[in-house]
Symmetry: C2
Subunit: 246 residues, 2 copies
């Protein structure tokens, strides 16, 4: 799938010390991954970096150059440790200032007399960016080039993703078929599965063990964008599993 020149690709950049310290367990990577897969965008890479400008700028520039889209989460609040907008402006080499459109959005929720300097930080938007509305707490995200800058709070991130979803170029949806293997050990089918994978280069085939109270439980997943190719590989794997069960 990676060699498809028409593939729409993406990366996620999670920004925040609190994820790296373990204090907060990230929930955004999994939900963005589900979303992108559902619309046919290949998530190719994820990075998590601390609230430090050099690392954020480097990651933004590395990832936006390499993929169709980059989605960032975190660091767009009013406090001193929220530096994502400034870092994205630096990565693009553009200015950043209070954006009147963003200021107006904040005023939908905040009284004018309460719009202090800290809150106005949430209206600082890099020059040339489009805003991403935030239906929950109003402080917007933004899009600049192929980079979408979203909040870290999962409910707000999800609302922003719903806002930008319709604007994304999407690819052919990946069809995914799961073959339940039960407790047949991976080692008993790995060689045959490798042969099937070799004979079906148009699909990707993975074997995923998980542990349950009763021991290992294995699943084989076939993924691809061509329904016939996925079905053909799936049929061969199902036959293999049936032979092993017999």
């Amino acid at each position: 799938m990676t060699t498809d020149p028409h593939a729409v690709t993406a990366a996620i950049l999670v920004i925040g010390d609190e994820i790296l310290s373990g204090r907060t367990k990230d929930k955004n990577i999994g939900s963005i991954a589900d979303y992108l897969t559902a619309v046919g965008i290949d998530l190719r890479e994820v990075r998590i970096v601390p609230d430090e400008a050099p690392m954020i700028v480097e990651a933004v520039n590395a990832l936006r150059a390499r993929y169709t889209y980059l989605f960032t989460t975190g660091g767009i609040g009013p406090t001193h440790d929220d530096i994502t907008a400034d870092c994205v402006a630096e990565a693009f080499g553009v200015g950043i200032d209070v954006d009147p459109r963003a200021r107006a959005m904040l005023l939908e929720r905040i009284k004018p007399e309460d719009l202090n300097a800290a809150r106005l930080r949430m209206a600082r938007i890099p020059d040339g960016a489009d805003l991403i509305p935030n239906p929950i707490s109003k402080a917007p995200g933004f899009r600049i080039g192929n980079v979408f800058v979203m909040a870290g709070v999962p409910a707000i991130m999800q609302a922003m993703l719903d806002e930008i979803g319709p604007t994304l170029r999407t690819g052919a949806r990946v069809i995914s078929e799961t073959i339940e293997v039960g407790n047949i050990p991976e080692g008993a089918y790995a060689s045959d599965l490798a042969s099937i994978a070799g004979a079906h280069p148009g699909v990707s085939i993975g074997s995923y063990p998980s542990m349950t109270q009763g021991g290992f439980l294995n699943r084989i997943v076939v993924r691809g964008k061509d329904a016939a190719a996925v079905a053909a590989a799936r049929a061969e794997i199902a036959a293999l599993v049936a032979r092993l069960r017999a």
Copy 2:
């Protein structure tokens, strides 16, 4: 904390298409993060990459050069999509072959007549690596240089982490103090908090909003390795919050 030349730092590399597709939700990042924080190792970066050799090799080399330790998870099973060991060997420029010690470990669980070519893949270890025992399913992980290669199944990863923990050089533990702010909005304290942060450069201060049924709930976290410095910043923040509540 990042400028401390004695700091022990780490990165995590999660390897697997199933995480990027959203099919499997990663649980290892959070538990490794907790573990490292508890022993005074600063987790500085995380990457998630697909089961593709060029991306794995590039990430291994980028991260092992930059941090004290690199921990990888995933891709060490018997199936064709498990390519982590070969990629790590390639990253280090060393050979890889079936390791007699690893083969012996597999034979603790697998009958000799069942030790087929696929299962023997789990005994392929880069030249010069030390093994990481796997008390659950026997197939070992390994350490080469500053890179620890672990399984992706969370229970096995955890068991391997427990095995290697005592061998790690650890740093000063980070002390973390949380000040509950309740529903006082971040924008009401952000400026004062920035002043406190500026006056306490030896600690890191973060403000973390979360959403509950009743609206936002904010917490301020002070982190640092010097107990007195953390306590001093904590006291100023507690006084600030008390003033805002009054």
